[in-house]
């Protein structure tokens, strides 16, 4: 069923700033509006499964895109890995000392009786990647009892920013904007599965502009915006 | 129209098992506190559903346990004055009074202004019940029931919270209602004066049972009922016809035994009245006494003497066609040698037969 106005994009909530910017640029360029509904990837995927009138889905997790793909809810061949992100360790305060994770820094000791905050380590992507990274660095078992999990990355950031917890693991794109924290280490690329935001056109979409906008997301203009917000554009690496 | 009541019911330890007939007119339920009067009225109203029995009003069966008949309360067309008021707190006095008009077709019935005037609640119409005094509430409750154009009036101690003057204003109204309509009234009161004045039928209750029921003047003038009624309530009725309104304010009536003088009775010449005379207001004399302030002296014959356990005696007399009761001391009964067949004179102070004990012949 066609929707009355323009294009409807379902996107992971963490993309709000960038996508709002890109949609604005697109409108300036084409005169066409894009409506974006931000929510958790799981909600959005389920809504699409239940017939939501979305044209494009951008997920924060590969799993939910896989889920829709196996349910044949996305247009064959349209799936693409749009963005990447980096995982970083942050500490409270602007000028916290760097931590060298690869050199085997004792994170547990640094924490003392404080907490390491992460997104939910079994379900929210940032948490899952974080757990993988800590495990591969051999740190997980020592810090597991000090990990406090939040339902999203922003909540983790808030806990560190407010000083409630000394350290946290978040995306680089989130850490950038918060003045109350400093990035004290980046996790090595190989320590966790690649962080990927896949996108695809929804199978039921009939909007003529879906393809155009989806392509625009991979344009150099969009790339600038993504980079400026701390994301890593992965254009042209589509796997569909 | 007549109400026929027969049912049995239990609450906890208390069991109720009653049967009586209430013809048109006022049927008084009389009995001690806790004897089951309110429960009987509630069953007739349909607020209690008895376990067994049958209640019929005129041709309509309101309740029949065997035939599983049950007319819902709101279809019974009642006017119920509750023992505890139960005014609607969210409605003004006027709205309380006219509440039933929202449901019943507007029939001629009682005039609003008349009822309100008689109850003296004209000044309260726009107020809400919460601020009313006890007696004011009760008057509004009476008005509400009267204005419901009921086929059956249930009144549970309606006048208990009122002063004598107010009672004296409302009682004649109830009497008129009794006289002019054929709706049965079930009336609970602890005041024998009220009962004696209003009741055409009397139902004596005790511990959930009907002890005695029948025409009020018969029940009241039977010396055997004195213990059940209480001595102060015993009395009998004279029947008399209004003959003259005299200029000093007295009314002359003619009873079968002789003339009677009462303070002004508001009844047309020729009207036949029933005058309740309490046993304790009668003095007896073997000779016709002279020079007494009491104006009413009737020749009578002793028909029965009932000596109580105490110092008192109840004498039943025949005065003309009527029976009278007199309560005197046993000592006087002996001194005057009062025995069945003895002739004597009954002295009634005219003023003792006060306005409130004169009623249209029932």
């Amino acid at each position: 069923q066609a929707r009355a106005e323009g294009l409807l994009v379902f996107a992971a909530a963490s993309l709000k700033t960038v996508l709002d910017q890109i949609a604005e640029d697109w409108r300036a360029r084409t005169g066409k509006t894009v409506t974006i509904s931000y929510a958790g990837s799981s909600s959005l995927a389920r809504q699409i499964e239940q017939g939501a009138p979305a044209d494009i889905f951008i997920s924060a997790s590969v799993d939910w895109m896989d889920y829709l793909q196996s349910a044949e809810m996305i247009r064959t061949g349209s799936r693409r890995e749009l963005l990447g992100n980096r995982l970083v360790l942050i500490a409270h305060g602007r000028e916290a000392a760097d931590v060298d994770l690869e050199a085997g820094a004792d994170l547990a000791e640094l924490l003392g009786d404080g907490r390491l905050v992460m997104a939910l380590v079994d379900s929210v992507p940032a948490g899952v990647y974080g757990k993988q990274a800590l495990s591969s660095l051999g740190l997980w078992d020592r810090v597991v009892s000090k990990v406090a999990q939040t339902d999203n990355v922003r909540a983790a950031l808030a806990l560190v920013s407010s000083g409630e917890a000394p350290f946290g693991i978040v995306y680089a794109s989130d850490a950038m904007a918060d003045a109350g924290v400093s990035v004290v280490a980046g996790f090595p690329e190989g320590s966790h599965a690649p962080i990927i935001y896949p996108g695809a056109i929804v199978a039921t979409s009939v909007a003529p502009d879906a393809d155009n906008f989806f392509s625009y997301l991979s344009s150099p203009a969009a790339e600038e915006v993504f980079k400026a917000q701390g994301f890593t554009p992965l254009f042209g690496q589509g796997n569909g | 129209m007549s109400l026929s009541v027969r049912f049995a019911h239990r609450f906890g330890d208390f069991s109720l098992d009653v049967a009586f007939e209430a013809p048109a007119g006022v049927t008084a339920l009389f009995g001690r506190s806790g004897s089951g009067k309110t429960s009987v009225i509630n069953a007739v109203a349909g607020l209690i559903r008895p376990e067994a029995g049958r209640i019929q009003l005129g041709e309509t069966v309101l309740f029949d346990a065997e035939r599983r008949i049950w007319v819902p309360v709101h279809q019974r067309r009642l006017g119920y004055v509750f023992q505890e008021g139960r005014l609607f707190p969210h409605l003004s006095v006027r709205q309380n009074l006219t509440y039933s008009r929202w449901f019943a077709p507007r029939r001629p019935g009682e005039s609003f202004d008349h009822v309100v005037g008689m109850l003296g609640i004209d000044g309260l119409l726009e107020r809400r019940p919460a601020g009313l005094s006890g007696g004011e509430k009760q008057r509004v409750a009476i008005g509400r029931a009267l204005l419901a154009n009921p086929r059956l009036l249930l009144m549970d101690e309606p006048l208990a919270a009122l002063d004598e003057e107010r009672k004296a204003e409302i009682l004649p109204y109830l009497e008129r209602l009794r006289g002019e309509t054929d709706i049965p009234v079930l009336y609970v009161s602890h005041s024998m004066a009220e009962v004696a004045r209003l009741a055409t039928t009397l139902v004596l209750m005790d511990k959930g049972r009907v002890v005695r029921s029948g025409l009020a003047h018969e029940v009241l003038s039977d010396p055997e009922n004195v213990p059940a009624l209480g001595i102060r309530a015993a009395g009998a009725s004279l029947h008399a016809t209004v003959t003259t309104q005299e200029e000093d304010g007295l009314t002359r009536l003619e009873a079968s035994a002789g003339p009677l003088f009462l303070p002004h009775v508001d009844a047309p010449l020729g009207a036949r009245l029933s005058i309740r005379i309490l046993a304790q207001d009668v003095i007896l004399s073997r000779t016709r006494p002279e020079g007494l302030s009491a104006l009413n002296i009737l020749p009578a014959t002793v028909t029965a003497v009932r000596l109580g356990e105490g110092p008192g005696a109840v004498i039943q007399l025949r005065a003309g066609d009527d029976l009278l009761l007199a309560r005197i001391t046993r000592r006087s009964a002996q001194a005057l040698e009062l025995a069945p067949g003895a002739d004597c004179f009954a002295i009634l102070k005219s003023v003792a037969v006060a306005q409130s004990e004169v009623g249209g012949a029932g």
């Binding site: 931000y38 239940q50 922003r154 | 279809q75 119920y80 809400r128």
Partner: protein
């Protein structure tokens, strides 16, 4: 106001008002009926109904939203039936947001009204029926006016809840600006990205202001009603 809010924020405010208003207004009669039945009637399955009514309170909102999606979504049993039969669509419309808000607020509304009904003296209702009022009329002329403060309390609780409802709404009808993005969803969006706090705070203040205004209004109405009953 429109000046310092973006059109999307502005539409979130008006949408929230619309959603909360209809959620409250349409569920109120149902709430009164359910509360009445729970307070005054005995029937088979009463406790099941009671449990059902409370369910949205017990379940995490996401679960409620998901269940709504499964039931009232386009593919859901009830949803497709309603769409085919009445052309009524909840999925991804503001009507769905209103449904979600109504469902989430329902237990609060019912509890408040039920408490009020239980406090009404049945003797007054009896008195009304002796005066010829059928059960329906008794309810309208006696019970309802007497429970008015409770109904108002229930409605305001529901409205406030609807203004703040988020989890079930976003799960059920998503977060589409101009269509299903209510104030709380908009707040959520801002809280999910770095630097959105200030805008979120702005919207929070608007939400609080609206709800408090409604609250004050309800207090005032409730008091007026109570005073009327306590005698002019």
């Amino acid at each position: 106001m429109a000046d310092w809010l973006t059109p999307d924020q502005w539409s979130a405010v008006t949408l929230s008002l619309k959603v909360s208003f209809w959620a409250t207004a349409l569920s109120l009669p149902v709430g009164v009926a359910v509360a009445y039945v729970l307070a005054r009637r005995e029937f088979w399955g009463k406790q099941a109904l009671n449990g059902l009514v409370h369910l949205p309170l017990i379940l995490p909102p996401v679960v409620t939203g998901y269940l709504l999606l499964l039931t009232f979504g386009r593919r859901g049993a009830v949803g497709s039936f309603l769409e085919d039969t009445f052309g009524l669509v909840f999925a991804f419309r503001w009507t769905g947001a209103a449904l979600a808000a109504a469902v989430m607020a329902f237990p609060l509304m019912v509890r408040a009204i039920r408490l009020a009904i239980e406090a009404v003296d049945p003797k007054l209702e009896q008195a009304a029926s002796t005066l010829g009022a059928s059960p329906g009329w008794v309810f309208v002329t006696v019970t309802l006016p007497l429970i008015l403060p409770g109904v108002i309390a229930g409605a305001i609780l529901a409205f406030a809840k609807a203004m703040g409802e988020f989890g079930a709404t976003i799960t059920f009808v998503s977060n589409i600006p101009g269509q299903t993005q209510t104030l709380p969803s908009a707040i959520y969006s801002f809280l999910q990205v770095p630097g959105g706090d200030a805008q979120a705070a702005q919207l929070v203040l608007i939400a609080v202001a609206i709800a408090l205004l409604a609250l004050l209004l309800s207090e005032w109405v409730g008091r007026a009603v109570a005073r009327r009953i306590a005698g002019s």
